[in-house]
Each structure stands twice: as structure tokens, then as C-alpha cells.
């Protein structure tokens, strides 16, 4: 097991460097420089040149990458020129909001998607199964931002039930329970949009995985040995069917972080996706790089953890 974990880690190292290198190359080839967005007419060319020099933006490419990587190892992700603050601090204030939104959606979609997938798999080709299959198709086909806008129009503007943007009522300064309720009200719509896609994909994967297991010989054997239906489902079917679901759920975490970009932008949720959109608009190189780095790290980590979980649950992986 230790050997497997180590092997998995070693594979991740070149991937990590590859990612940072590619993104750094990309960010550095962005047109314009971070100071041209400031539009300060009093800024002379000489002053601008000094600023570029000061921030090391005139160095050769590899030198800049090396310097940057060296700082990263010491936990310094750079300085955001647009927010006038350390990149790590800005990300720190935002990532919690994304994690909250993503976490709630993930829990909701797991709680709905997996049981629903199991129950339709057990009633294959029924009316419920057909209905749910179509629902899943709708869920994976509707553009997240379009869905978001429809919700804003319906519940935010026409019915005026829910706030349409942000995370708290501006200037309300609620504390304690009132604050939590305020956030929850703001979260209903973005969480619904984010969950819809995941419910659909969890349900489809669970359904096909359970159906796969149902066709196995050992299920027929268990049935013919008179195993009661309840324990057949819980001990024989679920145990085997849920193994691949680990991968599906864990793969959804990074795609949630990335997919949240559109949802967060539509609902102006102050998370990392919305921050990233702003950073690209502001040409805030260091911030973009920092966000991509943090998200890539999270993705890598989640993938490693998922692989390890998989190996713990399914010994066949460990020894292959």
C-alpha cells in the first residue's frame, strides 16, 4: 500500500511542474502589461519602465519562471496589482466562499443523485426510469448560466423571493444566525444550478454501475441461494456498485471548482471563479497564476486521494 501511494505521488510531480510551466507561459504571453490598465495620465514612460523593472517583468522568461517557482515554494504567490494585496491573502478570502458553495452542492447532489440512481436501476425500463433518464439529459444539456438567468428572472425578479446576487445583503452587518440565514438565502439559486448538473451525472453513473453489477454471476448465485432482497441490495450490489462512484464524485470536485466560474459570475458570488474572471479582465498576471496554481494543486490532491481511496476499497488496483 505504501509503495502504491509513493508511486502515485511520484507520477504527480512531473504533472505538477508541467501545469505550472504551461500556465506561466500562457500568462506571460498575455498582451498588455498590468500597468496599462491603470490609466493614470500622470504616469510617465520612464516611471512605467521603472515599475516593470521593479516587478521583474522585463527579465527573460525562464528566469521569471524560476524566480516565481522559488517564491511559491516559500508560500509567496506574488502581489496582485489590481487588488493591492498579496495573492495568497486574496485567494484565502475567496476560496472559503467557493468551498462553501461547492461543498453544499456536492452534498446535495450526492444525497439526491446516488439513491435516485440506485432506485431507477432497480426498476429498469419502468416509467420512473424513463422519466429520470430524460431529466438527466436535461440536467447535462442546459447551459449553467442560462439556467441561472432563468432562476434569477423567476425567483429573483418576478416573484421576488430570493436575492439575485452576492452572498449577503449589502450593509446589513448581520451576525450569528441571522448572518447564516442571509448567506443561505443567497446560496439557494447558485447551489441549485451547480447541483443540477451533478445530480444528473451522479444518477447516470450510479444507474449504469448498479445495472452492471446486477448482471454479474455472483448476484444470480446469491439470488438462487435465497438471499433476501434487502441484504442482496445492501451487501452484494451496493458494495460493488459504489466503488466506481468514488472516482466519479471525486472527479466532480475539480470540475465544480472550474465550472463554478460561470455560476459565480452570473450570481456575483464572491468566490474564486468570479475572482478569476475579474483577474483575467484586469490582466492581473500574478493573481491568475495563483488561482490556477491553487486550483491545480487541489485537483491533483483530490485525484491522488481518490486513487488511494479506490485502492483501499478495491484491492485489485493495488496489486496490478
Amino acid at each position: 500500500m505504501v509503495k502504491y501511494v509513493l508511486k502515485r505521488m511520484v507520477v504527480a510531480v512531473p504533472v505538477f511542474f508541467g501545469i505550472t510551466f504551461c500556465v506561466f507561459a500562457l500568462v506571460m504571453s498575455m498582451p498588455g502589461d498590468p500597468f496599462s490598465g491603470m490609466l493614470d495620465p500622470s504616469m510617465t514612460a520612464e516611471y512605467k519602465r521603472r515599475l516593470l523593472e521593479q516587478y521583474g517583468l522585463n527579465d527573460p522568461f525562464l528566469v521569471q519562471y524560476g524566480k516565481w517557482l522559488g517564491r511559491v515554494i516559500h508560500g509567496d504567490l506574488g502581489y496582485s496589482t489590481a487588488y493591492k494585496s498579496r495573492v495568497l491573502d486574496i485567494i484565502g478570502t475567496r476560496i472559503g466562499n467557493t468551498a462553501l458553495l461547492g461543498g453544499v452542492s456536492l452534498i446535495i447532489s450526492t444525497l439526491i443523485g446516488i439513491p435516485a440512481g440506485i432506485s431507477v436501476a432497480m426498476r429498469r425500463n419502468s416509467l420512473l426510469d424513463a422519466g429520470m433518464t430524460i431529466f438527466c439529459f436535461f440536467g447535462v444539456s442546459v447551459p449553467a448560466f442560462f439556467m441561472g438567468m432563468l432562476l434569477i428572472l423567476l425567483f429573483g425578479m418576478t416573484l421576488k423571493w430570493l436575492p439575485i446576487s452576492g452572498m449577503v445583503v449589502a450593509g446589513a452587518n448581520n451576525v450569528g444566525l441571522a448572518y447564516a440565514l442571509d448567506v443561505a438565502r443567497h446560496m439557494v439559486m447558485p447551489a441549485t444550478v451547480l447541483s443540477l448538473l451533478n445530480v444528473a451525472s451522479f444518477m447516470r453513473y450510479t444507474r449504469s454501475s448498479v445495472i452492471d453489477v446486477l448482471g454479474q454471476d455472483y448476484i444470480r448465485t446469491a439470488r438462487s441461494n435465497g438471499v433476501p432482497r434487502r441484504s442482496l441490495v445492501s451487501r452484494h450490489i451496493l458494495k460493488n456498485a459504489l466503488i466506481p462512484i468514488i472516482t466519479v464524485v471525486s472527479l466532480q470536485i475539480p470540475s465544480m471548482l472550474s465550472g463554478a466560474l460561470l455560476t459565480e459570475t452570473v450570481f456575483v458570488w464572491p468566490g474564486i471563479g468570479q475572482l478569476n474572471y475579474q483577474a483575467v479582465l484586469n490582466r492581473d498576471y500574478q493573481l491568475i497564476m495563483g488561482i490556477v496554481l491553487v486550483l491545480a494543486l487541489v485537483t491533483l490532491l483530490v485525484n491522488i486521494i481518490a486513487d488511494i481511496c479506490y485502492a483501499i476499497v478495491d484491492p485489485r488496483i493495488r496489486y496490478s
Binding site: V11, P14, V15, G18, I19, C22, V23, L26, V27, S29, M30, P31, I134, F137, F138, V140, S141, V142, P143, A144, F145, F146, M149, L150, I152, L153, M157, I211, G215, P254, S255, L257, S258, G259, L261, L262, T265, G273, N276, Y277, V280, R283, I288, I291, V292, L295, A296, T299, L300, N303
Partner: protein
């Protein structure tokens, strides 16, 4: 053993009815019986025809601006009203469809080309080359998709061609893995050795003896990939990082809804493109899923 018996009985049955079904025909018959897939196929066919006939069907010029008809609701003259600078929404929808569907198709072609090439190289050569290509796949799968996509769009600038490149470069990994696995497993088979002994070049072996074995998963993957490519184009254009106006695409027409007034009062500006993206993606998914069921021999058995 079981295979032999069922194979023999199939041949006998086929002989009895004097008709032999090729795998392709069996798949087509299964697809034809799938109502959702057929619905998707017909809808897409009609849509493609409508979009290709845009110059004939459009009632106005794509970019023609009616100075005094901004934000006008649907009338006889403007079937779906006008947008914020007085252009005909219906005509722009047709031309926008050319871009949205074209981007989806081109992006899929690009991702299949990259995926098949790298997958075949990785599987056939193996060793260090394989390791490098597989690390590349791991790397791309770690990229947070929209995050990297909007950064790339910001660097290269938004245009239909750049969107195709961005989607293609970021989504070839699925096809690559399929082809690599297939080539890897066929590399040590007898017929490959025989082909090599006959003096066929690796390119010929891969092209005519290995790739035909993975056509079905590639086709399914490409179809479903087209659905996500259309969604991605819409998303990027909606954010203003995709196809740039005045060239219309369903995505950038949708961004009209970012304006609160338009969202509340001018439904004809954003609802039709939104519904078209949704319906197109839905139908492509119907078709892709139907093709997976039709082409996968495992579901063929399970459904009987």
C-alpha cells in the same frame, strides 16, 4: 465456447431468412428503434438545414441596423424582435447557428485528430514516449477547464477559430486514452505480427488494422464531445471571451441577458438563443447516448 454457439446459431438464423446483418446494420437498426436518438437526429438535421440556408431564410441582413427600432418586441417585420442596437434577432439566430454548430464540429474534429494521433503514437511506440504523452494527458485533466479556457481566450483574443483551438487542445484526452488502450492491446496480437512480417509500415498497421477496431468508441466520444463543445462556446462567448460581435453566435447573443433590463423585459433577445443551445446540446446528447447503446456489444446483450 458460448460465443461459438451463439455465433453459429446467428449464422443459421441469418441463412434461414436469406439475409445477413453486418454489425453496422445491427447498430443502425438499434439506433432506429431508439426514439430519443431519432428525435435528436431529426431535430439536428432540420437545424443544420435551416442554418445552412440562413441567407435564404433570413429576413434581414446579419448586421443591418434599424436606427429607430431598438429593443422592439416581435412584429411581422421582425419575427423575433430586435436587439439593443436594432438588429433582427431571427436573422442573427440563423447566422449565429452557423458559428455555434460550426465551432462545435470543428472543435470535435480537432480533438479527434489530436487524440487519435497521440493515442496511436503512445500505444504503438510505448516506453518513454508513452509515459510522456500520458503525463501530458494527466496534466490537461488537472487544468481547471473554464479557468484555463478564459485565460487562453484572453491571450489569443476571442474569435471563432481561437475557441475551436482552445476546446480542441483541452479536450482530446478522452479519444487519446481510447485509442492508446486499443492499440496497446492489439500490438501483441498475431495479426499485427503477421502484418509486420509482411512488411507493412507502422502507419499502415495502425491505420488499417488497429483504428477500425476503435471506431465506435471514438464516434460516441466525439458526438458527446460536440455537446460539451457547443456548451463551452456558449459559456465563453457569454462571458465576452468567445466569438466577438458583430459576428453573432448563440453564446454572445445570450450575453444580452447580462443586462438586467433586457433580462426582465426583452425576452426575445436571450430566450431563443438559450433554448436553441439547450435543444441542440440535448439532441446531440440523445444521439450520442443512442449511438453508445447501439454500438456497444455489452448493451446489445443486456437489452435482449
Amino acid at each position: 465456447m458460448t460465443q461459438g454457439i451463439s455465433g453459429a446459431s446467428v449464422t443459421r438464423k441469418a441463412r434461414a431468412s436469406r439475409e445477413v446483418y453486418s454489425p453496422g446494420r445491427i447498430a443502425w437498426r438499434k439506433l432506429r428503434n431508439n426514439k430519443l436518438a431519432m428525435f435528436g437526429m431529426i431535430f439536428l438535421a432540420l437545424l443544420i438545414i435551416a442554418v445552412l440556408l440562413a441567407p435564404v431564410l433570413a429576413t434581414h441582413d446579419r448586421d443591418a441596423i434599424e436606427m429607430f427600432s431598438m429593443d422592439k418586441p416581435p412584429t411581422e417585420k421582425f419575427i423575433l424582435g430586435t436587439d439593443s442596437i436594432g438588429r433582427d434577432v431571427y436573422s442573427r439566430l440563423l447566422y449565429g447557428g452557423q458559428i455555434s454548430l460550426g465551432v462545435g464540429l470543428a472543435a470535435v474534429l480537432l480533438q479527434v485528430t489530436i487524440g487519435v494521433t497521440l493515442g496511436a503514437i503512445a500505444g504503438y511506440i510505448g516506453g518513454a514516449v508513452d509515459a510522456i504523452i500520458m503525463r501530458l494527458v494527466d496534466m490537461i485533466l488537472c487544468f481547471p477547464f473554464y479557468v484555463i479556457a478564459i485565460s487562453m481566450a484572453a491571450v489569443f483574443g476571442g474569435s471563432a477559430i481561437n475557441i475551436v483551438i482552445i476546446i480542441g487542445v483541452l479536450s482530446w484526452t478522452g479519444v487519446c486514452r481510447i485509442v492508446r488502450a486499443q492499440v496497446l492491446s492489439l500490438r501483441s496480437r498475431e495479426f499485427t505480427e503477421a502484418a509486420r512480417a509482411l512488411g507493412l509500415t507502422p502507419l499502415e498497421i495502425i491505420r488499417s488494422h488497429m483504428l477500425p477496431n476503435c471506431v465506435s468508441p471514438i464516434v460516441v466520444n466525439a458526438t458527446l464531445g460536440m455537446a460539451s463543445a457547443i456548451l463551452t462556446e456558449a459559456g465563453l462567448s457569454f462571458l465576452g471571451m468567445g466569438v466577438t460581435p458583430p459576428q453573432p453566435s448563440w453564446g454572445n447573443m445570450l450575453s444580452a441577458a447580462q443586462n438586467i433590463t433586457a433580462l426582465q423585459h426583452y425576452w426575445w433577445q436571450w430566450l431563443p438563443p438559450g433554448l436553441l443551445v439547450f435543444m441542440t446540446v440535448l439532441c446531440v446528447n440523445f444521439l450520442g447516448d443512442g449511438m453508445r447503446d447501439a454500438l456497444d456489444p455489452r448493451t446489445r446483450q443486456a437489452k435482449e
